[in-house]
């Protein structure tokens, strides 16, 4: 038997969510409290949690529910398992209490908005070809000759396109941030290994600013519709804005007790 941890909250309205638990649908979701910090947990048979769609969804669903029924929520990464309730109370809520309080303060009444923007392939490629005669020329040449005669030209063409795309991505990404960052308390940008990605970013918003942010995203999306598609998911628990330095604790010792 082990204890699965979903998140840590402050000001949690009474009654933990009546939702299916990770790993064991019958296990009740319950709380462990210490000094106003509330760890939301459930019982787990094994120590290792497989990343099934079902369990991943349950983890997300519980946190979404907690977001709207608490004043502050620090979501845990999927898969955090403690040996038992006592270690949650002792080693987490009490031992790291000060740090948790600081995190909870950072996310008090705040939520995350997650944004992903992608280029419309045809639009941006057309731009690139129009802007760079060298690319247009290589394009003409590679279309006029049979494929096996143009191998190196095609590589060169692709390389130039990749470079042009990289420039555009940087500028367009900056423009999106310029447009949206003022509505947020904080934001962070991620590298996205996808050739048509423009930007992947998370924004920390005051709960009261969600609608305003929504409007700003809509305006942006409408303006860029022809060349960039914007996707925004909100409100989310502030996954991207909670981080603590890892503490070195002996793995074997903790699990042996």
């Amino acid at each position: 038997m082990a204890t699965y941890l979903y998140g840590i909250a402050r000001g949690l309205r009474p009654g933990p969510p009546a939702l299916p638990s990770v790993g064991d649908a019958d296990a009740k979701i319950r709380t462990i409290e210490s000094a106003g910090r509330v760890a939301v947990v459930s019982d787990l048979a094994d120590a290792f949690v497989d990343a099934t769609a079902e369990d991943l969804q349950r983890h997300s669903d519980v946190l979404q529910k907690l977001l709207t029924s608490s004043d502050a929520l620090v979501p845990l990464r999927f898969g955090t398992v403690y040996p038992d309730d006592e270690s949650v109370a002792r080693d987490l809520l009490e031992a790291r209490g000060g740090e948790l309080d600081a995190l909870l303060k950072c996310v008090e009444n705040r939520v995350e908005a997650r944004l992903k923007a992608f280029y419309r392939e045809e639009s941006v490629l057309a731009e690139i070809v129009a802007e760079q005669p060298r690319i247009a020329e290589l394009h003409r040449r590679t279309q006029a000759l049979p494929a096996n005669a143009t191998y190196y030209d095609r590589i060169r063409l692709g390389e130039l396109v990749a470079a042009a795309l990289s420039d555009k991505r940087r500028r367009d990404g900056d423009q999106i941030l310029l447009h949206l960052a003022p509505f947020a308390v904080d934001h962070c940008v991620e590298e996205e290994p996808h050739e048509w990605s423009v930007l992947t970013a998370s924004f920390l918003l005051e709960g009261s600013a969600v609608e305003e942010f929504h409007s700003a995203v809509k305006t942006l999306a409408d303006d860029t519709e022809q060349r960039v598609q914007v996707r925004c998911l909100a409100p989310l628990p502030p996954y991207s804005f909670v981080a603590l330095p890892l503490e070195q604790v002996e793995a074997e010792a903790a699990w042996a007790s």
């Binding site: 290792f48 991943l56 990464r77 095609r154 396109v161 990749a162 809509k218 909670v242 903790a254």
Partner: protein, 135 residues
């Protein structure tokens, strides 16, 4: 809050994830973000950097370049050529219009209608002008 339909090409998608909605939308934050606390609970957080990547944004490789070349060759270039002056004029610099969304505005003007601006939109605008002058 706007609820978007799945499977349609929406301009933007803005909704709170709800039970049963796309897990894929939150998968990266659930697995790669969120609080990670103690080393000893890493036993179950194995592969926590599962989805994170290194510094490369685009995987630069021959395969990628060939894919780009293929994508360009799929374009119908001839229909874009009339839009060339507009694209260059619209520009990408934020200074063009002197406001934060300048570059986006500029590009919107330039590529609105995907280069068909000369043929369609101008025609529409001309019609409107005529109406205005009549009124």
């Amino acid at each position: 809050m706007a609820v978007a339909q799945r499977g349609t090409s929406q301009n933007y998608l803005y909704r709170a994830p709800s039970p049963g909605s796309g897990l894929v939308d939150v998968l990266d934050v659930i697995l790669d973000k969120g609080l990670v606390i103690d080393a000893y609970v890493r036993v179950s957080l194995v592969g926590i950097e599962l989805l994170t990547i290194d510094a490369r944004i685009v995987i630069a490789s021959v395969d990628t370049y060939l894919k780009f070349a293929e994508a360009v060759n799929r374009l119908d270039i001839s229909s874009q050529s009339s839009g060339l002056p507009d694209l260059l004029e619209g520009g990408m610099e934020s200074g063009a219009k002197g406001k934060a969304e300048g570059a986006i505005e500029g590009v919107k003007d330039a590529v609105k209608g995907n280069g068909r601006k000369q043929q369609d939109d101008d025609g529409d605008e001309q019609e409107q002008d005529e109406d205005d002058s009549d009124a």
